[in-house]
Symmetry: C2
Subunit: 617 residues, 2 copies
């Protein structure tokens, strides 16, 4: 049997030392028994823990060296990922403070903001909020309705009505002293679109600032150590300098200036710089999923139920095919997503490490972040649910952690971008080949753009037929065959979608219906693209693995990821003549065979996540 530590070495990827250090630090913590704390006590505890964390590297990793940070953007995401093995309220609260609040100041502000705020952000001297979402607008951020009207050297911030109050804002209900508020910048009665403003919301003693009203979102499904709240602004005046002015500013004589002319393009550029939040959520979702799988696999190994026929020994749960089916394909997908996440973090590290990043690379990063976030958080929701069920009654007890994981991660699928909206963003990027500002294109404009480009579908169909001819008699574990299925599906779905949009655009269909009628197809295009990227990332990681035994084991895990994914979508492959019915049945049988083959390694594969023990009980 391979030692788990050898697999851990492969999983540790590009930031091995940092990961080890952070894991060791986490292992020293005592896992607090938060289940019996009421909301107030839990919030207080998390705030204390956050203060402790402020003294550690986590708080500094992502900020520039000039202000006392370490300038390691990728490392800062890795750090969130490791925090994700522990209490997720703490992870989210840290994410709000150093990721969202600090990140917005860093990415949207300029030197004067960095110098003034970042040291206090890192030290938690200045606890802050990221006040973007409103009750009425979450996904459609461009149409937020909070206003910041320029008036004589100041901005006046207002909440026009309850529908425009800031909602679900982390750190707002209890601790936040300052908020980065996203609002329509209005100058001479014209809006220049959404900009970010630094707005003090509380005195040091906790009283709200004049004109600021603060509400409490109250108990949530999970993450009750985070004080989510609501904010209303009534003629709150802040100096002009509080505008985070990297992408737009108001001159001393009251003129709006920006390096980006289009309001909408500017807005999406600003939004794009905040991509790290999504990547961190994807990473934390991965950690929570790994934790759930570790718990469920260990229980399936120790728990026995029903006797072996003609014998008194009882059968380990993990020996049942149905139980393997529940846990092992999910485990394989967690491996795949782990490597895809690592690749994504490296992309982020490179793009944001460049002073003037290539716009195409920036958009590809955004698209990939959106897609991986959606796929990873849905995987978390589904897998943690399955892990809970696989542990039966024990899995329902808070003492066994799974209910907490389920409740805490549940919001991941909809915060930092609703998954359904995010997958559509991915598809739009693909359809427009990341041209210009695809996030802002209307459905009809997208369809028209699509009409201009794109390969003939006939050629593509011929290529697909060759794929089948070449591989149909081969081994299902042929990596080349697997890859061809992932690639071919992605291309075919996309070109089919382009064709449908092109047809609709020229047929006079109602502009809303143009996109809406194909929305399921759009989502499929996003998903199949991401699944191919995830496959490639896992494939590349296996290819680079120097430890031959580990490489062989991970190769089987990759086979299981690939074939279980193909199995799940085999209706599509059958409908499009990519596999024969006989071969589809063989795929099912092969997934069963791989489950049986990997079953003895299941404990090794979860132990390789190296999650500190106190978070598994």
């Amino acid at each position: 049997m391979i030692e788990a530590a050898r697999v851990t070495d492969v999983l540790d990827g590009r930031w091995p030392q940092l990961r080890r250090e952070l894991r060791e630090r986490l292992a020293e913590n005592k896992a607090a028994d938060t289940a019996r704390l009421d909301m107030d006590a839990y919030r207080a505890l998390v705030t204390d823990q956050l203060r402790e964390l402020a003294g550690a590297r986590h708080a500094r990793l992502g900020f520039g060296r000039a202000h006392g940070g370490e300038g390691d953007i990728g490392g800062s995401v890795v750090s969130f990922q490791v925090l994700g093995y522990g209490d997720l309220s703490l992870m989210v609260k840290a994410g709000v403070q150093w990721g969202l609040f600090g990140g917005a100041i860093q990415m949207l502000g300029t030197e004067r903001h960095h110098a003034r705020y970042l040291p206090d952000v890192m030290s938690l001297e200045l606890p802050g909020c990221f006040a973007m979402t409103e009750s009425g607008h979450g996904s459609d951020v461009q149409h937020l309705r909070t206003t910041a009207r320029y008036d004589n050297g100041e901005f006046v911030v207002n909440t026009p009505d309850d529908d425009a109050r800031k909602d679900y804002i982390g750190n707002a209900a209890r601790d936040g002293r300052t908020a980065v508020v996203f609002a329509q910048l209005i100058l001479d009665d014209r809006s220049y679109g959404v900009h970010a403003f630094v707005v003090p919301i509380r005195h040091a003693d906790g009283r709200p600032m004049p004109g600021v009203r603060i509400g409490d979102c109250g108990p949530k499904a999970g993450l009750n150590g985070v004080d989510n709240g609501r904010l209303w602004f009534d003629n709150v005046r802040v100096p002009k300098e509080n505008l985070l002015n990297r992408y737009g500013d108001v001159t001393d004589d009251g003129q709006y200036t920006s390096s980006i002319e289009s309001d909408s393009r500017r807005f999406f550029t600003m939004l794009g710089t905040l991509v790290r939040g999504r990547i961190s959520v994807a990473g934390a979702a991965g950690s929570a999923t790994q934790r759930a799988l570790t718990i469920a696999v260990h229980r399936a190994q120790s728990r026995r139920q029903f006797r072996r026929p003609d014998s008194d020994t009882e059968i380990q749960l993990l020996d049942y095919l149905a139980h393997q089916r529940k846990l092992l394909p999910a485990l394989a997908k967690s491996y795949a997503l782990h490597f895809a996440q690592d690749e994504l973090v490296q992309m982020l590290h490179e793009v944001q490490g460049t002073p003037e990043p290539d716009p195409i690379a920036q958009r590809q990063l955004e698209s990939r972040a959106a897609g991986i976030k959606a796929v990873a958080t849905w995987h978390a929701t589904r897998t943690i649910q399955t892990a809970r069920e696989a542990c039966g009654g024990a899995g329902y007890l808070v003492a066994n952690v799974l209910p907490v994981l389920k409740a805490d991660t549940d919001v991941f699928t909809t915060f930092e971008g609703d998954n359904t909206v995010l997958l559509q963003l991915v598809a739009k990027g693909l359809l427009t080949d990341y041209r210009d500002n695809f996030a802002d294109l209307s459905p009809l404009a997208t369809a028209r753009l699509v009409a201009e480009q794109l390969m003939g579908s006939v050629l593509e169909r011929i290529a697909a037929r060759q794929v089948i001819a070449r591989f149909d008699d081969d081994d299902l574990r042929s990596r080349a065959w697997q890859r061809s299925l992932f690639e071919d599906r992605e291309q075919h779905v996309l070109s089919g979608l382009a064709g449908r949009l092109r047809a609709a655009a020229s047929s006079g269909t109602d502009p809303f219906d143009v996109f809406n009628d194909v929305q399921d197809h759009v989502l499929l295009a996003g998903r199949t693209h991401i699944e191919r990227l995830v496959f490639d990332a896992f494939d590349a990681a296996v290819g680079q693995c120097a430890d031959e035994e580990v490489k062989a084991l991970l190769g089987q895990v990759l086979d299981l990821y690939a074939l279980a994914t193909i199995e799940e979508d085999r209706a599509w492959f059958l409908e499009h003549g990519r596999i024969t019915p006989a071969r589809a049945k063989k795929v099912i049988a092969e997934v069963n065979a791989l489950c049986k083959q990997l079953r003895p390694h299941a404990v090794t594969l979860v132990d390789a996540f190296a999650i500190p023990r106190q978070y598994l009980a």
Copy 2:
């Protein structure tokens, strides 16, 4: 637009007056704000509510008239279903008291137990527990390890070790005064299998009885108003009369007697009488799902996001195809399951209303209860999750109910029988044609029994080909075509499974592997059987509907249930040549078309559930 009340009349089925009365009673309640209560306060509240309920019809419905009950077994399940619209902790606590505890005394005891206990059970004078599950044995109840040794006119109850402690027992941690304890009846060092004993566990003042140790399961994912606990017995002596002796007894001179000779057959007969618990869980799962859908559909109707192209109006969420796809097929399935549940309750009412029920009918009832429970609770878990996501951040706030529904229902998939185990029970019943005691058959014995019977698969394949030939050019909404797909799939899956088992049984495969290698096929056989039953039940209900407009609407809902189910499993239909790839694609398009068509009726369809408003927050 059809009024919701007209649809309600159809949904109310066989117990319309009772349903109306119970709904009206529920509507008078104030929905308590339980989110801020700690566990102890929540438990106390639920106990108070239970006491109130003890004065109402709910407590009496299921018990015999001779002891003050109403003798309406079906009505008692309907009553749980209506309670399921409210606080689920109260529903479960009521289920423990009057369903499980009282039900066990009623079904397994004899007149002396009925006369002595039932009045106090109904009035809650005697709060009780149903102590079956042990830490080590939940699904495999036959091998429970608690013992009740006969000794000189008494039984001596013992917990041999911690693994055999009674676990997750509702009403045990705080309120229960007496438990029905399931234990191996041992007489002269021989076990006669598991029997049920009435064992006092607490004095009226709350102290445990001598020899009884009581523990607390602590906080759970949900249902924290229910005091689940653990019980250990150390030489606890109870009089011989405390054995619930309907199926087995010990004579005054210390001889074991029973009308059923085989220990195992006797055990499964006893277990079979307790089927009402599962049926009640299925019903409550249905109610919770309906509640979640009502909340999510109303929000999707009122919530708008993103502007209509070239316009300032924003689009209602429910106008998006992706949103319709999330909610409407789930809603259609909820309708289907509602009618299937109604049919099941009637079956229960008839079988248990007969003094000596036909054994085959009894086994069919058990099988159907197991299958509907599995399908309905998985549907609940999935749909409530989807509803939560469909409501975004708002859906994560406890104030909006969905997190509570998710957490409270989560255990439904594994309590009162683990769903995976239950579906296997369904398949075994089918394989053995409900002969004798299929629940007790070993895998190998099942396989051998199967080898003796069953139709040639060639004939069956020809029949299937005719099915396709006859319908392939027809309308996808042809009910006959839909039915033929459900029936044909069920038969083919079952006969294929029988074939594989027969082959394995004669090939010298390891007896464990015989069943385990086909476990996914076994589960499929169970599921496809239940899906056909559910289709039939919905079809019958539509057929009987006297209101023509409602009938037409429900016909479309049935179309959506049928086609969405076929769509979900279309890989199977493709693999087995039941539909062509072109037709499979048409099924997808038709599901989209049905979503669009039903969209204007979505609010009517959820309002028809008539859930009291205060439970929709």
